[in-house]
Subunit: 131 residues, 2 copies
DNA sequence: CTTGACCTTACAGTTACTAGAAGGTTGAAT
DNA sequence: ATTCAACCTTCTAGTAACTGTAAGGTCAAG
């Protein structure tokens, strides 16, 4: 199948597939005589794997490691679990950070009337005035 | 004061100050005869404002709007509050997304022994096998 | 044999900086 | 007067992970 079909089957845009190939995340596809990339079922599966891992927030580089582990029959499940654990820790850090931003913003908004008048504690807060 | 001092006082790195100037977020600074940028207290305050807004996750473009509102004596607090509300909504969406990623990952990890054996439900899950 | 959908490469743009290179300025110590 | 470090200047390029666009080749159908 051509790249467009592989894209439709895997959920990864054709452009992105080419990009992944260019950065070495996936193997270069075979080509027809005229230069078209050709994909098989196995390739589509790999693409789907990549897609799921990316959607869980693994970086392209992480996905590379995950793919290597996926293909390595001798790897231990501990290695994979460690990567997943790091990812969860990253996520936790981000959630904490976002939650703090949210609190601060809500706190500022609470005191802002949000009417036609110019007085705005939000801007005052951003300006650093404790007012 | 020179850019380094302004950087130290505002918490915005000198390089970043130049960058903000180059993209038009802040006004071009005055220059000495030899070309050094010169800053005053007011500039440092602006920089601090920018820094706080950025740390709350407003984009540089958003901060531009915020700065305009900050300087505009005739603006209504409703305008400012609307920007803040959008930002909170963005944050909420991100938190939801991250929480979902976290759940999925934890769910996969739960079933992975994480020992020396190769069996790994995490990889199977990423591969799309419901196993 | 032309049309339209598909494919190819290559380059620019996105966000918000950050690193590095090459060189000029300043102020203090020698 | 000179030297030295610490500052400043501009410019280019790199980061993550694509996405958009241009210019052009290919394929199957009518």
């Amino acid at each position: 199948m051509n790249i467009g079909t592989a894209a439709a089957h895997s959920g990864v845009p054709a452009k992105t597939i080419r990009y992944y190939e260019s950065v070495g995340l996936i193997q270069p596809a075979d080509r027809t005589a005229s230069g078209y990339r050709v994909y098989g079922e196995q390739d589509v599966e790999t693409l789907r794997f990549v897609q799921r891992a990316r959607s869980l927030g693994f970086s392209v580089e992480d996905v590379g490691s995950l793919l290597a582990l996926w293909r390595d029959r001798s790897r231990t499940s501990a290695e994979v679990k460690a990567l997943a654990r790091h990812r969860v820790e990253d996520i936790d850090r981000k959630i904490t950070e976002l939650t703090e931003m949210r609190e601060t913003l809500l706190h500022l908004m609470e005191r802002c009337k949000g009417d036609e008048r110019p007085e705005c504690p939000i801007l005052q807060g951003l300006a650093g005035k404790t007012a």
